[in-house]
Symmetry: C2
Subunit: 256 residues, 2 copies
Amino acid sequence: MQTKNMKITMAYDGTNYHGYQKQKNNPITIQQTVEQAIEKVFKHPFEINGCSRTDAGVHAREYVFSCRLPKSVPEQGIIRSLNDSLPPDIAIISAEQADDDFHARFNSLGKQYEYLIYTSPKDPFLATRALRLWKCPDINIMQRAADILIGEHDFKSFCSADCTLENTVRTIYNISVSQENNFISIKVAGNGFLYNMVRIIVGTLIAVSEGKISAEDIKNILDKKDRTLAGMTVPAHGLYLNKVFYSEKEVETIGK
Amino acid sequence: MQTKNMKITMAYDGTNYHGYQKQKNNPITIQQTVEQAIEKVFKHPFEINGCSRTDAGVHAREYVFSCRLPKSVPEQGIIRSLNDSLPPDIAIISAEQADDDFHARFNSLGKQYEYLIYTSPKDPFLATRALRLWKCPDINIMQRAADILIGEHDFKSFCSADCTLENTVRTIYNISVSQENNFISIKVAGNGFLYNMVRIIVGTLIAVSEGKISAEDIKNILDKKDRTLAGMTVPAHGLYLNKVFYSEKEVETIGK
């Protein structure tokens, strides 16, 4: 069968999945569900290469994966047939033929995540969509602390304690904290992220806004390379993968 | 223990519940979950009387129940402690002391439901929140058909086929069909609803907009008292209980 290399973008509500990555003991994951839909549609298994892992409960507005698919099927047919086969909480947004050597992870120049917080009265329709806080954090204080994290740093303090990576240096392109009514959005763009890094950054910014950590401590926390100094890991359900960057232009216009 | 009669309003995302009503074989229901939270908070069981049953997957923006609770606990304490004990997809909105004979169901003068449809590209975040249609229905055609249903009618044709009620006459106060971008909202207010009645009305209005049933057929469908003549029962997950009416004024201002 003749195949073509595809760059496919999807969105998903991660609530009912054990994260993106296929696992041995076979819980339902995004990757496994998409590969099953592909096999059902094309009567042939194709492995997909995702841009990133996402944890259980984390959502994606634009998640990119690459995979080879039959050359004969047009892009619109791929989108429509996969959407028909996928469950309603996973949607294919776009599909385009890519260079033969395109790989969703290796070609990525970075990603933008968004974390959503709300402080209105308890809202059952946000149960799996945003973190509820009792007190509205001060976004100016959070932004001041966030600014210190921008740039190239060793983010070992902002990585899950069981992280065994040798190189924990990453570049954060930008962090922007904004508020609309009772919603607070924290967008974090960078060239790569350690395990739980965005969720620990957000937990630390919340701790700063609560006065538990001062904005000036942030540099010290980076220097000490000690996870226990940073804030808590906020829950997964407020986190969205917003965008994956594949060109310097995207990094410039969206990431910064 | 001295108790007071309470009128309590809650909102819930019905996705993970087997409907409102407690059941014998013990699946998770809204009623059971709320009664467990009440028993946990007050160290004593209290039965709650709901305004209505809702089916599995149906949501509520304002669901009212009555129950007796300890006199000593102030309203704000009831709201806060119940919200802390309830799961994140059920939220107490308000709690007020009511007349001793107030009963959420028997005192109700009617209810307003809303059904949500969307026609934008597949959206995973609406998987459990709105019905997706390929083609945008014509809201003017739907409204014209809906207008024929307003008033007092025998709605036997708009009731689940296994309905065994003797009296299937109900009064619909109003139906309004509106559109905002790719969302269509159908609000139905009435003095009472038969099993699946709102979902069959919506299915029928969709069938009219698709040209499968003519608006002029609606009167005939009512007259024939035959469920098979009306449209399909649309899925539960697009349905919201919006409001329960306890005064003529509410009926006048919201219901009509």
